[in-house]
Symmetry: C2
Subunit: 304 residues, 2 copies
């Protein structure tokens, strides 16, 4: 009998905590500090990948894999890979040349704790290692499945995904002419693509039907946008203690966001609408998708 | 009949030019500039990956693949992937926080031509895309082979390879206590690992025997070190017009190199010794390895 990624009887907060604990344990296992002077870059990788965080993306990978009865070890490899890519993106986005952030998840950013060169290299190595993890035989017995994961992650993370979104975001700073369509596209690339990969990874590992994949893609698409709107709302309404980063930074940077265009109230109802829509995509999976449904509601009610 | 990667009757300079032309054509084909504002990062990727250069690593991938009668398209995919990773490493290494170089291959570095944020993102996307290329069905019909390539490239490029070497290099700056063993290890990681992957890729694509792989690894190992010693010699003896970058930059930075420790004459004979040794590893392949033999002699006689 295979061991499922998560306990199907658990509540979402329990499952999220389990996902974080299991993913961190695997990352701990993978990121071994070597003896030589290059230890410094591995310490910076560990500092960033094991920083406190919700581990929402690993949870999505595990909960999606659960729909197709994927074995725990397989699902965890995908969860670890997606968290490695998420961690790399935060390290590079925080750099002085990019968003120039000093604080992340309540702690100094990687380049503040180490230095800028080490942060560039740590990000590079986290990204590289994500692909190594996916290609490992532990991820799936069928190498065609592992190749499909590598392809999907590269497309989600690269210039047609996350990197492209970050490029647009940098160019859009101080551009108040950005409309809702442009912001939606920006966020679909910048945060949506990796969230979609997290869900897609479970479907790839489970060799899901085209119908099931389409449903999960729809769920992830709506969830990703709602997640971003919630993020924008937190930047306006949250406290630094809760979010672990400076508040009001978007407005201070003159950035167009969902909230700056729609206003707080309309942004909030838009997010709620998206969550209802996300949940409706899961009907196909019946009670098996309960954790994913709970996750959707959590995303817009979170305080950090 | 399969079309071989290179014309077996060509001389090394012809084959090197062919490798560059074929690899650039494939990179041109792969790196399509999109319509949206994210076009900027793809232009920076093209600027860096298609910059004038010898394309020695693609040549090594093609010439190694040739030993095992690998089809041209397969070999070219591996050649493109290794050049993408090489280009990414140059873009990030040139950043102000790293080596802070303004000139590369005779042109402004990526962050000078674009800006620092775009250069970070372009490097990230080049690295990401390399893995996408390897995972494409065009690379090899057997997904197990593609997974093996992804694994080998990730190990060569990451913290246990190139990134680790660059970390050591940054820490070693202004450290005159570095001995020859430490420099050898540094260079084996920083430049040797990717050169070794270039040769190994051909063997992986050709499902070579363990004996053949071992021979190629020995060749690549010695070639990589000789290549680096030649690079150090060029920094002392070359001209900026020939090398496309400032001369004497190692000495100015107080960097320990093979030349600063061994002196010019002993460094040169060490490089010659390594090349003889590299060539001797190729005996196994008889006349089929003629291009690789010529490449080895080229490496220490190059002027740029």
């Amino acid at each position: 009998m295979i061991e499922l990624p998560l306990d199907p009887a658990s509540s979402f907060p329990e499952a999220l905590a389990d996902a974080a604990r299991l993913t961190d344990a695997l990352l701990e296992h993978h990121l071994v500090v070597p003896d030589g002077p290059e230890a410094r870059v591995v310490k910076a990788m560990r500092y960033s990948a094991l920083a406190p965080g919700k581990r929402l993306r690993p949870f999505l990978a595990l909960a999606s894999a659960q729909l197709f009865s994927v074995a725990r070890r397989s699902a965890l490899q995908a969860a670890a890979a997606v968290e490695l890519v998420h961690a790399y993106s935060l390290v590079h986005d925080d750099l002085p040349a990019m968003d120039n952030s000093d604080l992340r998840r309540g702690r100094p950013t990687c380049h503040k704790e180490f230095d800028e060169a080490t942060a560039v290299l740590a990000g590079d190595a986290l990204l590289t290692f994500a692909f190594e993890v996916l290609a490992q035989p532990d991820t799936h017995g069928d190498p065609a499945v592992r190749c499909e994961l590598v392809t999907a992650l590269a497309q989600a993370a690269g210039d047609r995904g996350m990197v492209g979104g970050q490029m647009i975001d940098l160019l859009a700073e101080n551009d108040p002419s950005l409309d809702i369509g442009a912001i939606t596209r920006l966020q679909r690339l910048k945060t949506g693509a990796l969230i979609a990969f997290s869900c897609e990874a479970g479907a790839i590992l489970g060799k899901a039907t085209a119908e099931a994949r389409l449903a999960l893609r729809g769920y992830a698409h709506d969830l990703g946008l709602a997640f971003q709107i919630a993020d924008d709302l937190l930047d306006v309404e949250g406290s630094a203690a809760e979010t672990g980063k400076p508040v009001g930074s978007d407005a201070a940077a003159g950035k167009a966001t969902f909230v700056s265009i729609l206003g707080v109230e309309r942004a909030r109802s838009q997010a709620e609408l998206l969550i209802d829509q996300a949940v409706s995509h899961l009907d196909l999976f019946e009670e098996k998708a309960e954790l994913l449904r709970q996750a959707a509601h959590f995303v817009i009610n979170r305080r950090a």
